[in-house]
């Protein structure tokens, strides 16, 4: 009984090791599997994965409209004060007062790309962009205003 266990131990051990060697041997003999991106050389054709988190951006559509309501949920969610929402009150043609953003200030140098602001946003106004080439010579350039000048909130977003 003991001997049987011993032999099965050896056999299962060896077969599992051989399985691993088969996998790595396959990778070794198939160079097309290589996933290395030779970054500065292939800058034009560089493929970034969709889930890569490089910086926070606010998408605008063709009419220069965004979906940010100025609710400051992102500002509250941010653990290290990266986002500052400056709100203003807009008067609609009917004379109704409505809260909107003046500027959404984003400080890239403080951001840890934790994604909490994107999760917190109720209207999907902000998202993570895969851009990672952030180096600048002046630190003030890292403080960005996310909403484009003259942009306004899209109709029907509350």
């Amino acid at each position: 009984m003991f001997l049987k266990e011993y032999i099965t131990d050896v056999v299962t051990g060896v077969t599992s090791l051989l399985k691993g060697m088969r996998k790595t041997g396959y990778y070794f003999t198939h160079p097309k599997e290589i996933i290395t991106e030779q970054y500065p050389d292939n800058r034009a054709t560089l493929l970034m994965s969709d889930r890569f988190k490089g910086e926070v951006v606010m998408p605008h559509d063709a009419n220069n409209e965004h979906t940010c309501t100025g609710c400051t949920a992102c500002e509250l969610a941010c653990p290290n004060g990266t986002i500052k929402v400056v709100t203003k009150f807009e008067t609609s043609p009917e004379g109704k007062k409505k809260k909107a953003i003046d500027t959404l200030v984003y400080r890239l140098e403080l951001c840890t790309m934790c994604n909490l602001c994107i999760v917190a946003c109720p209207s999907d106004a902000i998202k993570m962009a895969p851009n990672f080439e952030h180096s600048v010579f002046d630190r003030t350039k890292l403080t960005k205003v996310l909403n484009q000048p003259g942009s306004k909130i899209r109709e029907g977003i509350e």
Binding site: G20, M21, Y27, P31, Q38
Partner: protein, 358 residues
Amino acid sequence: MFSLEGITTNVQDWLLMKFNPTMALAIECVIVILLSISLFAILGLVLVLMERKVAAHIQIRLGPNRVGPGGMFQTVADTLKLIMKEGLTPDKADKFLFNLAPFVVMMVGMLLLAPIAFAKNFQIWDINIGVLYISSVSSLSVIGILMAGWASNNKYSLLGAMRSGAQIVSYELSAGFAVLTIVVLTGSLQISEIVNAQQNGWWIFKGHIPAVIAFVLYIIAVTAETNRAPFDLAEAESELTAGFHTEYSGMRFALFFLAEYINIFIVCAIGATLFFGGWMPLHIGNWEAFNHIMDYIPSSVWFMGKTFFLIFLIMWFRWTFPRLRVDQLLNLEWKYLLPISLFNLLLVAVIAILGWHF
């Protein structure tokens, strides 16, 4: 056909013509020393590059590819960097032993080079107890490692060295038994006779089951003896920073690094000699035409090809297998490899007596 044997004979004839025999011997010694040192240097550069490339391709990476075409000169650049670096000796270290240790480790590698047959009739010293010499000298390398660990005056170094001691002492046993298998089949300890016995087929084919088991045991045991992953407990980057060579820097570190790769080369060369016929070309039974074509490939190419195949195998192990813990390491040796190799030795003795091998 190109042959290293012709070159050595010509050199000896020329030296004997010009000088008296003692002088000629002395000059030959110098040539051999220079050749083995340059072999070491070249092997170090080639094997480190090979390891990095093999590792990269196994892990779906590219590996070094910037210095020279395809990263060819990466290791040359690394060596230059290491030469430039300061070789620091810790304050409380035992200065003498600390500085001596890397050279002891290197020296063992050099001594092991002596009985290896690199090509037909191309051998530094065809000693008649070649296999015994190899197994006795190879166990000396643990002294260099213990020396390094002790002299560093660092707890990580000492732990690494002690682990290395336990490891080498235990795995010497199964490596020795695996080598004995071939000695039983050949009936000789001399390297040249072991190679000649494989004229009509390599031992791994002729000795069938016990030879294959012995080869597997040998490869596992020498991987452990050279302190390579999955048995790299002496270095153990994740636990002991760098084990016995934590305190070494610059060229002395490079010597340890070089010694590791030289040891791999040597154990693979011995494995190729014992199991794959050394410089013997591949001959298949009565296929006269095939055997003649194989004979046209120089014997040195055969030897190097087999050795590098085994080196690749060991590198493949390193980048595939998970690491072992210390207790698992000793379990593997004392509970699995040693009983199996003892049983295998018995089996091979029976087969050799009854003549069941080919």
